[in-house]
Amino acid sequence: MGNGVDDSRKMNHIEECVRRSDRIFIDTCSVLYEAATPFFERLSAVLQKTGKKLYITRSVMAEMDRHQRNKEKPELAARAREGFRNLVKMDEAGLLEKIGNPEDESFADNIFLAVFTRFRMKYHLMLITQDRNLATEVDALNNSQAVNVKPNIVKSIDKDGYLRNFYPARNEKQDSAAPYASRSLTPNSAQCFRICREVTAVPDDALSVQHVPGEQEMAFTDSKAPVRLQKKLAEGGEGAIYETDTPQVAKIYKADKITRRCHEKLKLMMSKNLQCEGICFPEKLLYNQYGEFVGYLMPKAQGEELGSCVFRAQRLKRRFPDWKKRDLVELSLTIMEKIKYLNDRNIILGDINPKNILVVSAKEVYFVDTDSYQIEDYPCPVGMTNFTAPERQGIDYSSYLRQRSDDNFAIATLLFMIMLPGKPPYAQQGGETSDENIRKMDFSYPCGDKSNGKTPDGPWRFMWSHLAYKSVKEPFYNTFAKDGEYQKPKDRLSVDAWISNFSNYLELLDNGIMGKNDYMSEWIFPKRYKHSDKVKYTRCEVCGEMEVEEGRGTICRACMDDPGKAEHYRCAQCGTEMIYTMRDKAENKKRHVFCMTCGHQVLYQAECRTCHKTFQIAREEAAFLQAKGYHMPKNCPECRKRQRLQNASVLQQTKTFSGRRTASYESSSGSGWWSSLKKLLFG
């Protein structure tokens, strides 16, 4: 925003839109929009240049007049006055055309729909509006099957006073509005693949191939045209990718992966002339010098693996240092558009894998390994645990045909891992695979009042809290949690629904609405929870600056962890620097006297009175005992623990006990306050 190249590009965009249109209309809400004035200036310049005019209906002007005189909403009145000033300036320059009657329809919307429907055969019409619903409806007129319809243009004013695309209307149903920024029309049935129920019978055994060409060797297309394999770009489990002497790259399979199933699947995929920018579909099959199938040619992809440059937080910070939350959302939309292209044609991706999506920028993404997609009855034989739906965990991927619901789960997971960069939705600690947690749908992030109580504090939770509630948090929770509304496979949101949700979210971010509530919501890595309207905040008693949530004490998060405000001291034995922060104090953590190493040093060794095993007392423990005035324990830790458990059950019967920790060390000599208490109570 605000750099010269960007500005002139955006000016050109305004000019282009104006040139393409015969009649340009503007809606009340756009005239009232905050950034309308700079836009009007630019529009005036363009209209002068092109000799065109801005059309305004008198009903819009009447509406504006009403707002001007609205005493109860002074802000609205002020903006209406400003809007009028802009219109008058245009009028005086001869650039404004007023039409209609002021009494026509109190809702200008219907006028626009009527006008646009009626005149679309004759004119290229353009509408400027901030209203998404109106925009969606007017734009939908373009999908009409009628012939001779001249397409219309619908735009909104962006926050800098230029034109931007509108965000499609909110729609939670599975089949919703046109995708963000792209105009791909829904394919007709001839362009779609069949939906099948059973895995194909075509065999997947390796065909015997005489030679698999490698670097600097030749391969051949169907028409026997030679293709030289040049530098090897990558190698995987299935085969290798080579640069060629054509603009495309070649994928050549390993000998044991060349099967009839593979061959037939590729032929099927190529039968429908699939074209989508950024998806690397197979274009031509390749054969060796004996005419045996060995691989295919595809467009060259660019960019770095999603799993590498986005899913590793530190790497993300280095690779895209300027990115904000909205860039992650835009990236998600770019990816989802392509998924939509595939899903619309009944292609199931199956293995939505962060290695198969390459990122150049938030707007430019490439899909590779397209030969693994599931088409008709050819399954996708691979998958990743994290992206596999709970009901499919543990089942061999090549034994079943996936459905939309499988892709829908994977899409939700992918989106989650983009918004919380690299974090799989189901907690994973300790090296077990996530499948257990996924099966149990043990989702550890709260939504409203619902929570499994396991959410750890910390950076990921902060990120979660800053997500938009209705557009993002709720749908994630409903998809991943056991008690979520979309937890059943058939209820999962489709890619269209997610596109709608994320378009919403992008609008909230780009319009500054999220930022107004809490500026940190625009960051990718917020440092604290989102401020909530429902919570009261007080000033921190230590620094007086940051705010503290009511009920969370009187010290702000920053001060709690600030080494500058903590107690610094030294290990009593070796002098290592130690620290006791305000958070430690607040959480009643033990203030260690010694560092780890010194604390572990064994001071005493003794024989357990009960079980006669030798046990040791280390330095830190000894110091703790001394400080509390306890005697050295006579029993080993296991026996002590057993005693404690026995004592605890006795404790429950004595309500007078205030809940203080009991002495962990049983002193059989009879001294010590625990024994005295016991004597007192039980004789």
């Binding site: 690299g422 077990e432 504090d457 910390g458 950076p459």
Partner: protein, 257 residues
């Protein structure tokens, strides 16, 4: 807590990527001062009793075991630092055991490490105490991960010894039990490595119910640590929760099974 620990916790907040925790638990008893006979050694005729055994005092010879091990550890850290992903994900703790169990380096962000700390050899072989300390450090770090919601891959424990444990037998038993329990629950991977011919293979076998101890050929520490570094890199590049296949073929070159 130690100031350095505090910094570590802050690091989890600033770098929330999934971690690969690796414990190096290394024998630094007197026996590690021994040198291999590479043809240049000169026997002085004197002997000395240390670390439970009789040794010949010699002059010359090549690298001592300790030196070779130190060089290997250096190579390990360098390999990790050179790999972008391992730099963000790997956390290495260094515990040595001789007559004392010492934490030479606690878990933490590699970037903070200025130089690999040095260690010397002296004393007996208190293996149980060493392993217990390593496990305690690991437990503490896992709790810190949990507190901050940071994912971590299955931790690795590399146990290297060239001798027979002669510390507190109860501690040794406790260590073996703890390790076995963790391995059975799939919460730990152990690499027990025997150095030289005097290592107690039985004890090492007891530490590792699922993997036979590996016998380092000669002083091929560098090879082992390079393989370890590559494995950590591989792990850092994957997503937590996915199965990772370690390249066990690569081990064959420097060890005998």
């Amino acid at each position: 807590m130690e100031y350095s620990n505090f910094i570590r916790l802050q690091d989890l907040v600033n770098n929330p990527s999934a971690r690969v925790p690796v414990c190096l638990c290394l024998d630094t008893s007197d026996s590690m001062k021994s040198v291999e006979d590479d043809g240049t050694i000169v026997h002085t005729g004197r002997t000395i009793y240390k670390d439970g055994r009789q040794w010949e005092i010699v002059e010359g010879g090549g690298e001592s075991r300790l030196q070779a091990m130190r060089a290997g550890v250096d190579a390990f850290y360098n390999a990790l630092r050179a790999d972008d992903d391992a730099r963000d994900a790997a956390e290495v703790s260094l515990v040595t055991f001789d007559t004392q169990a010492r934490c030479i380096q606690d878990f933490g962000w590699l970037d903070r490490l200025e130089a690999v700390p040095t260690f010397t050899a002296q004393g007996d072989t208190h293996m149980g105490e060493g392993v217990n300390l390593a496990l305690d450090l690991l437990d503490q770090r896992k709790q810190e991960y949990k507190d901050k919601g940071v994912d971590y891959f299955q931790p690795w424990l590399v146990l290297m010894t060239d001798g027979v444990p002669n510390g507190n037998p109860a501690e040794l038993e406790r260590a073996i039990q703890r390790v076995n329990a963790l391995v059975m629950q799939k919460k730990l991977t152990v690499f027990p490595i025997a150095i030289g011919s005097g290592a107690d293979m039985e004890v090492l076998r007891r530490f590792s119910p699922q993997r036979d101890p590996l016998h380092l050929k000669g002083l091929k520490f560098r090879e082992f640590f390079q393989w370890l570094g590559a494995s950590v890199s591989l792990t850092s590049k994957s997503t937590p929760g996915e199965r990772i296949k370690l390249d066990t073929e690569g081990i064959k070159g420097w060890s005998e099974l």
